[in-house]
Amino acid sequence: MSLPSTPAPLIVGERVTRIYRKAEVEVHALRGVDFTIPPASFVSFIGPSGSGKTTLLNLVGALDKPTSGRLEVGGVDIGTLDRRQAAVFRGRHIGFIFQDFNLLPILTVFENVEYPLRLVHPTPAAERRERAMALLDAVGMADQRDKYPDEISGGQKQRVAVARALVTQPKVVLADEPTANLDHETAGLVMKTMWRMTDQFGTTFVFSTHDPKVVREADIIYQLEDGRLVDGPRQGSMPS
């Protein structure tokens, strides 16, 4: 399941709908959203809590399936993947950056970055080390490589998470509120790091965020409200 070199667009959503059913209640998280994302772009989905940003990212990341509509990432219809195919797809093509960093506490900084190359894409040790160290160097964490996550700051953790998300050289990195738990200065540093990664590796970053700083950095902005796209695509600057 390799992604074709798609000049445009990398991600296409057509009438994407996601309805959660809990007992007798139906929750319409996304109501027929249309969007496209070109490769090597920096895209933000913005909107209030409950607007469907995280649901959308989960769908793009093959963590979930649309209830209806069509969602293609690099030509792969996410709705057709079974559990195992979805795992393989994520491992090959998607990187994740989480709001709470989600580093594995039993692994060192280096081992966290190396993890996908050890247990998802078994890679020869020398190459693994080279790629992990190159990324740690790129995010400025090479000197912290032997520390455990509880020994480094929040900003450092998020930089490690960026390195981990990029180590398999995915086409898409999905970042759910990546700066929510960081102070202003650290958030700026992390964003700069991600920009550099886009330049360096041609990676597409897709964010869900409230952070004006992230929004300002975006190439494309989509605004969601109550599961519907109410604005976008447009060039990045925080809406008033």
Binding site: R84, A87, G91, N102, L104, L107, R118, L119, V120, R164
Partner: protein, 416 residues
């Protein structure tokens, strides 16, 4: 695989106290099973050894129907000279036989000229008998470890009751095969310690004296007692003897082929076999208890581990870790916990057994006192217990591991 091991072990070390507590519980169970198993096995072995080496011997061959009438000690169901020769030939063909002894057993009256009491007597060839039941000489409490013609070895309880001492002359009265009664005078050569089990309170005279007392025209014996070179060959030798004598199944008593013989191992002759079976059953019960301990404790720990690490499971699943690999991580964690507990238990168990061997605890069994319990480490038992613990730990990990592997990453990532 190494990576999965590393992760499994680090996760165990992450919750040190819990791992230590669960590991200790498993280790304690393993210690109990190993020490109890070794002690029970030593007790059983010692008791079996006492009975087979001092009275019963390992295997006995009788005339068909004799054992069913054993309490009467019938003289009508003896093996004649020809049959004894046939058994002797069979024994020569059978490997693993160390010694054998013909015994002529009969019931009689024992008199000290003042009083008379009932007695069971074995007529034996002392050389053969001492080779077949080598602990017999050690049962002679007073007097010499010999049995010459004209002499008698009297059970200590009868001797005490009848006030008979070594060197006294006593009279044996016996009913012969044809119904007539005969009597003979014998000198008490020794007093025999009683042992628990059949034949443990019998008197002994020389086989030739028994033939003379019973007015037999030729040499006859009630049974042929057989000692094996190795106790472990019991079933095999019994089988071979049955085949050679045409006497049916391994425990004798077969009715096919019309053979005049029946072959019995000690198990069919001694009620202690049931005690031995009970000891084995108890050991098995303790193993089952250990299985329950391991199953519950490992499953509990692994369920806790899954519950506490839901978000981590979601993270690694989101990164593309396959469900099978996630399952392997948790199974390996349970396996490592079981292995750690078993290893600690084996080390402690071996230490306790070594301590017991040094302490040499004694116990009494029937009238036998001061028996030293000397448990030994059984490698087979250790491997079995370790195997059981590790296998059960793996089985106990399956459900939590399956639960972890089936978690929907999107739900797991939402978990707080």
């Amino acid at each position: 695989m190494t990576d999965l091991w590393t992760i499994a072990i680090r996760n165990l070390l992450r919750y040190r106290r819990r791992t230590l507590l669960t590991g200790s519980l498993i280790a304690l169970g393993v210690v109990f099973v190993i020490v109890f198993g070794a002690s029970a096995s030593a007790f059983k072995g010692m008791m079996i050894g006492q009975m087979t080496d001092s009275v019963l011997a390992h295997i006995q061959v009788h005339r068909r129907g004799y054992v069913a009438s054993l309490e009467n000690l019938p003289l009508t169901l003896t093996l004649d000279a020809g049959q004894v020769a046939a058994v002797e030939r069979a024994l020569e063909q059978t490997s693993g036989v160390e010694a054998w002894s013909g015994r002529l057993k009969f019931a009689g009256m024992f008199s000290n000229y003042a009083e008379t009491t009932g007695i069971r007597v074995n007529g034996v060839d002392p050389v053969r008998e001492f080779a077949t039941v080598p602990l017999l000489p050690s049962r002679i409490l007073k007097g010499e470890a010999r049995l010459d013609r004209g002499g008698i070895l009297v059970p200590e309880l009868i001797a005490a009751g009848m006030n008979v001492k070594v060197g006294d002359t006593v009279v044996l009265i016996a009913t012969n095969k044809d119904g007539s009664v005969n009597a003979g005078q014998y000198v008490v050569l020794g007093l025999l310690e009683s042992v628990t089990g059949p034949g443990g309170r019998d008197a002994y005279i020389h086989l030739d004296d028994a033939i003379e007392l019973l007015r037999l025209e030729q040499q006859e014996v009630s049974e042929i007692a057989i000692r094996l070179e190795r106790f472990g060959d019991l079933d095999r030798v019994a089988r071979d003897l049955n085949a050679a004598l045409g006497s049916g199944g391994p425990k004798g008593g077969g009715k096919k082929g019309g053979s005049p013989f029946e072959v019995h191992t000690w198990e069919a002759l001694s009620p202690f076999y049931n005690v031995a079976m009970m000891v084995d059953l108890l050991t098995m019960s303790i193993r089952v208890a250990l299985i329950a301990i391991v199953l519950i404790s490992v499953m509990n720990v692994m369920l806790m581990a899954v519950f506490e690490r839901v978000k981590e499971i979601g993270t690694i699943a989101a990164m593309g870790t396959l469900p099978g690999r996630i399952m392997s991580m948790f199974v390996l964690e349970g396996f490592s916990l079981g292995l750690f507990g078993a290893a600690a238990g084996v080390v402690l168990g071996v230490a306790v057994i070594s301590g017991l061997r040094l302490a040499r605890p004694t116990f009494d069994f029937g009238r036998q006192t001061g028996l030293v319990l000397s448990p030994s480490v059984n490698i087979g038992e250790i491997l079995l217990v370790t195997g059981i613990v590790v296998a059960v730990a793996v089985v106990a990990s399956f459900q939590p591991a399956f639960k972890a592997a089936r978690l929907e990453p999107v739900d797991a990532l939402r978990h707080t």
